[in-house]
Symmetry: C2
Subunit: 340 residues, 2 copies
């Protein structure tokens, strides 16, 4: 399977490290051999080699800060513009793992559409295109007869979408409800220990859980973009983030949290979607609720189903290897579909 | 997809009811049309009709207590022995949902092997053959180039095996640990409320959670058979139930439970397997453990993975529709593998 990697930051590097480590076992257990035929970055160069880049050299080069450090090989092409790279690299699958733009979803969305035009499957770890342009992507995938997969956009590699759409196929899902933002869940967990909001925020920034501008996390917008992806993917709902009722943890005080604790309850930032719409807000849950026990940066999602009742999945919601694995999981799913 | 149903008790009927209800949506959403070409029971007759039995009439007949109540149709054959039925019914998939025999796994194992000899895929809801004769079944499946699936044997339809083997493909699982017996989890939950063991047991029997002879549940043997299935399925471990260290909840007193509660802990009957072996025993978990929050008849399993850390699935572990769905889920998985 020949893949092109658009974006080579944390997630892309995590993915390539997994390939480096698991090359032999993937071939043996799943018959999957992944060749990276192209890598494009925004400001650290790009590489294209139709018979496959060397993984060790690739990681070594990006470790030195720029793909220019990749050694010359016969057939190697450097620094072509990304559109040309997508057209000419000969990939079977385009992996979109560039930086998420939640305002426009660009340029990633155009790259994905270009991939479909070239007859490539498209796998995204990038939330923007899926949250903003799902309909267009799904139509392009259908027209091309190719796969559109985006496991990494909801709970990193924890397979929430594979569970809902494949393992639970045959059930009707009427609602999904979950903790989809790990940094705010970490903050709520710490605040329940009596630490105040500002201190917890500094701590979360220091640990790398929050960006310098934490608005997307603490305001609920990161969770909301995941809720939109779930609503579109599970229900085909034609909604945008503006259709959701969104608030964050920035409206919850230490006093609120102490009051909930005294009442045997616990605040969680819950994203919820049904075919009729959705919301993100901090709600008080009884301790017996399966989502109440989810602590720290862990994520969780409960699907309400007609045949099984509630089914809950709990796991990591972020991380280099965790999200890198999401790309691999989607490749393996595409591979499984090809088996006759 | 033509299927033969061996066993037509709670699970088989649950499965057929789901087909009755979802016939149109399964065809539309997944392109799956299931025709039941044969039904075999131990003492309530059998039916074979190569162009498909009528589902309404089938449920009506078994509702009246015997398949003899199914009306005569052109081409219908009644009351052939099960071996002949398997050979002659023309099924693509054999569904084994007869009564579980945990001593011998028979006659179900021989039926499954016969299915493979006939070039049929085999799907089991019956734990016996998988727990006792996994190796033989897996070899026969491989030789025939057919699927061997058994989602319903671990957590009813809650897709623990699909999660581990498909959605988590690419991860290495180093251990699985879970609450795999709902009736004893219900009993422990009730005992924590201060109700004594004998009263809880009577209550669980009255609710249908326990058999008249509750040994398999309270002694840990039901959970142990599921642990064997997990060990074989996840790790290829060639172990039997005798290789596990098994104890049940019958060794836990009300005093033990009260002492755990006072210490902020909770007893759970935990089945655990690694490539090196496994155990079933009642252990005290801190309340923060994801498995500690699993109450009532609910089941749960945590997979320890190399790339995602712990991934936990929580859901129903028993029930007519829940286990009936497991058969459907396995059929849909077989169907997905056929899509090119």
């Amino acid at each position: 399977m020949k893949v092109a990697l658009i974006g080579f930051g944390t997630v892309g590097q995590g993915f390539v490290e997994i390939l480096q480590e698991k090359h032999a076992s993937l071939a043996e257990k799943y018959g999957l051999t992944v060749e990276i035929v192209a890598v494009a970055t925004h400001s650290r160069g790009s590489l294209m080699q139709p018979d496959g880049l060397d993984i060790d050299a690739l990681l070594d080069a990006i470790g030195k800060g720029h793909l220019r450090h990749y050694p010359h090989r016969e057939g190697l092409v450097r620094d072509v513009v990304t559109e040309t790279l997508i057209d000419q690299c000969g990939a079977d699958v385009l992996l979109e793992a560039s930086w998420t733009n939640l305002q426009t979803g660009q340029p990633a969305t155009d790259y994905c559409l270009r991939g479909f035009q070239n007859g490539q499957h498209v796998v995204l770890a990038n939330k923007g295109p899926v949250a903003l342009h799902y309909q267009q992507l799904a139509q392009a995938a259908k027209a091309a007869g190719k796969a559109l997969r985006y496991e990494g956009t909801v709970m990193a590699g924890t397979p929430s979408l594979a569970l809902a759409k494949e393992a639970l196929a045959g059930c009707t899902i009427s609602a999904a409800k979950g903790i989809l933002n790990g940094s705010t869940n970490y903050m709520l967990t710490e605040m329940e220990r009596g630490i105040d909001y500002e201190t917890v925020m500094d701590d979360a920034k220091a640990k790398g859980y929050l960006e310098a501008d934490p608005t997307a996390d603490v305001g609920g917008w990161d969770a909301a973009s995941k809720a939109v992806i779930l609503a579109r993917s599970l229900f085909g709902a034609n909604i945008t983030i503006d259709d959701l009722d969104v608030s964050g943890i920035d409206v919850i005080s230490s006093g609120d949290i102490a009051a909930a604790k005294a009442a045997g309850e616990r605040y969680k930032l819950i994203a919820e979607v049904t075919p009729a719409g959705g919301s993100v807000k901090a709600v008080r849950l009884p301790l017996a609720d399966p989502l109440a026990g989810v602590a720290g940066t862990t994520n969780a999602i409960t699907f309400e189903t007609d045949l099984l009742g509630p089914v809950t999945l709990v796991g990591a919601g972020a991380g280099r290897r965790e999200t890198g694995f999401a790309l691999l999981a989607d490749l393996l799913a595409i591979q499984r579909q090809k088996v006759t």
